[in-house]
């Protein structure tokens, strides 16, 4: 029997070095395309603290192309107690060297390097900061507010994503700053696929007529294998004839349930009963797509990225297709016969192909008028876009500079989160205040046992000032929270470093891998007391 493609008689060492085998479990999650992008990306870590090393570990393991650690510290005894990537006898050696070697050792397919230099000095030198231009992502930890902001400004201008990691005792945070991102594959859970049962196109209508449950003289086999799409479409037709399209939904659901009971306990009818929402819960244009249509970028010009050309074309498409987006074409599984299912798949595939062809014409019309090269009808990017027509989205991430401007608008965003019950967001404010304390007094609040109580009023002073700038009431951050920060005293706990390191790596992967899925926009704060987190736009 011939071996399948991909199976060769390899030694263990060969298998371990073969990306399709080594990375099998992760490519099943994010796909081969994202994996290819990761494997060509270089990432820089500034300061190999435990949190930084943990973030990098979770990028080395899945196979980023290369990493460089920039750090001037020497391994201290504290490091040996918190950082997995130092050895007990590494004390006194350059931390950048030691950590990079032990991370490198995790995955021979990755290239590791280090630079034993003071990050603050390098960042504040307008020439030397260009060092970062070589990377596709930068992770920064243990930097002062001023240095972080300088780095952030440079990277924003270079369109390089920055991930700022902070950890103090039992609280930690991650801030993502990235250039505008357009995402084609969000890979959402498909609870509501686009089936258009309430308004079937001619071929689908034909199919429904040929396969529904109300036809006379149905055999028992045919009846029990009526696909739910036909049951729902036909029942909806009967319902709207009597009640119009705005009829009471409860009545429709009852009508379908009656169908179920009459049928006995048949899977396809049960499926229909469970999916009534499909008739009214799938808007022609979802909010994320409408936002793209309304965005400035959809007024395309000669140098517009292809993504926005597609968006504009899709907007035009809806105008000539009764407000509908190109049909994605994916069909969920359903109880029916093999023959009927394949026939239905054909109907969906043909419609999707026809819509894709129409899109291609519109796209090429625009490309031509912009003096650009036209696409082949089989263009893969267009195919992917049309398949994900309902999911395409764009993310704009607010810069660190904007965040630190501490505006009233920011205060309103934070207040909204509080109104939603997200009390963890107060930790964000407490950490911002603590950062100001650090800048002012050049140490962490509560650094020494003797300072825990005496630092509290000073930390509170910083917090009050911050809250006032955000137009938030003084009670927003309880004293208890500030006292707890003083108690933490800038301490490092490995579990918190590992948690936020993992969260950081996830975001780097999602941004570099496409972007794919939904990257964080833009701040995540986790408190290890309640084990609760909050994400929001800072």
């Amino acid at each position: 029997m011939a071996a399948p493609v991909g199976y060769k008689a390899q030694t263990i060492a060969e298998q371990a070095a073969d990306p399709t085998i080594r990375y099998d479990r992760q490519t099943r999650l994010w796909g081969a395309n994202a994996q290819r992008l990761l494997m060509s990306a270089r990432v820089c870590l500034v300061n190999a603290t435990a949190a930084g090393a943990e973030a990098l570990k979770n990028l080395v393991l899945p196979g980023f192309k290369a990493f460089t650690i920039l750090d001037a510290a020497t391994v201290s005894e504290l490091d040996t107690g918190t950082n997995f990537f130092v050895l007990p006898d590494s004390m006194g050696q350059p931390r950048a060297k030691v950590v990079s070697e032990l991370l490198q050792e995790l995955n021979p397919l990755v290239e590791g390097a280090f630079v034993n230099d003071d990050p603050a000095e390098l960042i504040q030198d307008p020439e030397r900061i260009k060092f970062f231009s070589a990377f596709q992502a930068v992770i920064a930890t243990d930097l002062s507010e001023r240095v972080t902001r300088t780095l952030a400004s440079f990277l924003a201008a270079q369109s390089i994503p920055l991930f700022v990691v902070r950890a103090n005792g039992l609280v930690a945070s991650l801030r993502v700053q990235a250039p505008d991102m357009t995402i084609v594959e969000q890979k959402l859970d498909h609870t509501f696929p686009d089936l258009r049962l309430n308004d079937p196109w001619p071929q689908l209508k034909e199919f429904i007529e040929a396969n529904h449950h109300l036809r006379p003289d149905l055999s028992s086999e045919e009846y029990t294998h009526t696909p739910f799409v036909c049951i729902l479409a036909k029942e909806w037709e009967r319902f709207t004839a009597e009640h119009g399209t705005d009829g009471p939904k409860g009545v429709f659901m009852k009508q379908v349930r009656t169908c179920c009971t009459a049928s006995g306990v048949i899977d396809s009818f049960q499926e229909a009963g469970a999916k009534c929402m499909l008739l009214w819960s799938v808007p022609k244009v979802p909010a994320n797509v409408q936002a793209l249509f309304d965005a400035e970028e959809s007024n395309i010009s000669a140098d517009s990225p292809l993504f926005w050309i597609f968006v504009r074309a899709m907007k035009d498409f809806t105008e000539s297709h009764e407000g509908y987006l190109p049909l994605p074409g994916s069909l969920p599984d359903m109880t029916t016969t093999n023959r009927v299912y394949l026939a239905l798949q054909r109907v969906f595939n043909e419609k999707a192909a026809a819509d894709r062809a129409a899109m291609c014409d519109i796209v090429n019309g625009h490309l031509k008028s912009l003096g650009r090269e036209e696409l082949a009808p089989s263009d893969e990017q267009l195919k992917l876009f049309c398949k994900n027509s309902r999911e395409v989205t764009a993310i704009r991430v607010r810069s660190l500079e904007d965040e630190y401007a501490s505006s009233k608008e920011q205060g309103e965003r934070i207040n909204e989160k509080l109104m939603e019950g997200e009390t963890s967001i107060a930790w964000y404010l407490a950490m911002r205040a603590e950062e100001r304390f650090h800048t002012k007094y050049n140490r962490h609040a509560g650094a020494d046992d003797s300072q825990v109580e005496t630092d509290l009023p000073m930390l509170k002073e910083e917090c009050t000032a911050l809250l006032s700038e955000l137009s938030l009431p003084a009670e927003t951050v309880p004293d208890e929270m500030l006292h707890e920060l003083c108690r933490f005293g800038g301490g490092h706990l490995h579990t918190m470093a590992a948690f936020i390191g993992g969260a950081t790596a996830q975001e780097v992967i999602k941004v570099i891998g496409g972007p794919v899925f939904q990257p964080l926009n833009n701040t995540f704060v986790y408190n290890g007391i309640e084990s609760a987190g909050v994400q929001f736009e800072a």
Binding site: R25, T82, D449, G489, M496, F499, I509, S531
Partner: protein
């Protein structure tokens, strides 16, 4: 010691957000951290847990895992290297962490959790906390019911605190993860929330054989039907998912089947996925889950900060989404509510069948090794191999309706105990 800096501030400084009995004494905390704790699993979560627990100050860790290192583990189970493939995970993991963190002693066991009570029925009593990094619901249920069973009461009927062993349960799948804190008989146990898990997907036979629609149906047909019809590698030779020849046979068979029904999409990769029930797994999700779990262990044992109450879920596919809430105890929980569970069985089955099949397989019960069954109405044990060998041997081939009456109660224990206060599970048995 400067290394103490990692936790000294937390452990020396009092706080309103600590357990009420927190002493803010570093030496006491270190003493607590030196008591034995158990990690179950040395795989994706286990590796992370061992690292985290060692670096957060636990110095006496035990780890159980019966599995061996596989090459597809290397993308996330970072304590293993290509040279370790084929070696027992628990041994390799323990060795690696001890080398990095010399202050930490890790004892490894290469076996399964149920096996430990065969050797020593009191094995689990020694641990101050048990941390799970498992990939099976069955194993979790076993551990949970075992720990619930260890909880003892004094003469007044009050809980004996030292018999309560908390269980921390981490689980991951793709971008999603969860951390749950269980305190047996005090708060919700694992079984209280069993309905939260969707049932495992099983395709109907007619779908797989005569009406497949998806490539998965064709692969499942090859695995569950074609194999046992054709026995391609010899009669009764089961599928070994580590043998490429077996997997290739299944792949080709599935492809053939799919071709008959005009179904596209059967690939070798997909075949592996369906047959091995592969769940996509990445390092970062495991890292987050284990870290949060280990954090809970640290807080619980040192009392230095309030615990998770009691379920956190996170999904990194949708930004950085977390959700923490308190899952309440189920007052009808068959494991921890202490109320009899009503079961309906075939009265004609023998006691032997009742024990080996029903008690093991019924999804609410799932007993491991049963040690004693007491018939409440007659106050006699009908099954007690350790202390009533003869009577047990006589009863095994007898039918259930010979031994007891319809509606009678059986108290089933699956650990050895002469202590009347130790709980077992009471069943009210009805005959079908």
């Amino acid at each position: 010691m400067a290394q103490d800096g990692r936790y000294a501030k937390l452990l020396r400084r009092p706080s309103q957000k600590a357990f009420p009995d927190f002493s803010a004494n570093l030496d006491e905390s270190k003493e607590a951290l030196s008591k034995p704790i158990l990690v179950v699993g040395a795989g994706g979560l286990g590796c992370e847990l061992l690292k985290d627990l060692a670096l957060v100050g636990f110095t006496n860790i035990h780890v159980i895992d019966g599995d061996e290192v596989d090459v597809t583990n290397l993308n996330r189970q970072f304590l293993f290297r290509a040279d370790d493939v084929g070696q027992p995970k628990s041994t390799v993991a323990a060795k690696f962490v001890m080398k990095r963190v010399p202050a930490c002693k890790i004892t490894s066991y290469c076996c399964w959790i149920q096996d430990m009570v065969e050797k020593d029925s009191n094995f689990y009593r020694q641990f101050s906390i048990i941390v799970l990094g498992l990939d099976s619901i069955k194993a979790r249920r076993w551990m949970n019911s075992h720990l619930v069973g260890l909880v003892a009461y004094d003469e007044r009927g009050d809980l004996i605190p030292s018999s309560v062993i908390p269980m921390l349960d981490g689980g991951t799948e793709g971008w999603k993860g969860s951390v749950r804190a269980f305190v047996p008989k005090v708060a919700a146990c694992f079984e209280c929330a069993i309905d939260m898990f969707p049932p495992a997907e099983k395709f109907q036979e007619c779908t797989m054989k005569t009406n497949p629609r998806q490539p998965e149906h064709c692969i499942a047909w090859a695995k569950t039907m074609a194999w046992t019809e054709e026995w391609p590698f010899g009669k009764d030779v089961s599928i070994d998912t580590d043998k490429p020849e077996h997997m290739t046979w299944l792949f080709e068979k599935a492809k053939e089947h799919a071709a008959k029904f005009n179904i596209e999409g059967v690939t070798y990769k997909k075949t592996m996925g369906v047959v091995k029930n592969i769940i996509p797994a990445i390092a970062s999700t495991n890292a987050m889950c284990a870290a949060a779990t280990a954090n809970e262990a640290f807080k619980f044992v040192t009392r230095s900060s309030l615990p998770l109450n009691n379920w956190m879920m996170f999904n990194s596919g949708t930004g950085a989404h977390t959700y923490t809430y308190e899952h309440e105890r189920n007052p009808e929980c068959p494991t921890c509510a202490g109320k009899p569970v009503s079961v309906t069985v075939d009265g004609e089955q023998t006691l032997e069948t009742f024990i080996n099949e029903f008690l093991r397989e019924d999804s609410r019960l799932m007993f491991g090794s049963v040690l004693n069954i007491r018939h409440q109405q007659s106050s006699k044990s009908i099954y007690w191999p350790k202390f009533a060998k003869k009577r047990t041997a006589e009863n095994m081939p007898k039918k259930m309706n010979e031994l007891i009456s319809d509606g009678d109660s059986l108290l089933v224990k699956d650990r050895d105990s002469m202590d009347q206060n130790s709980s077992g599970l009471e069943l009210t048995v009805h005959f079908a």
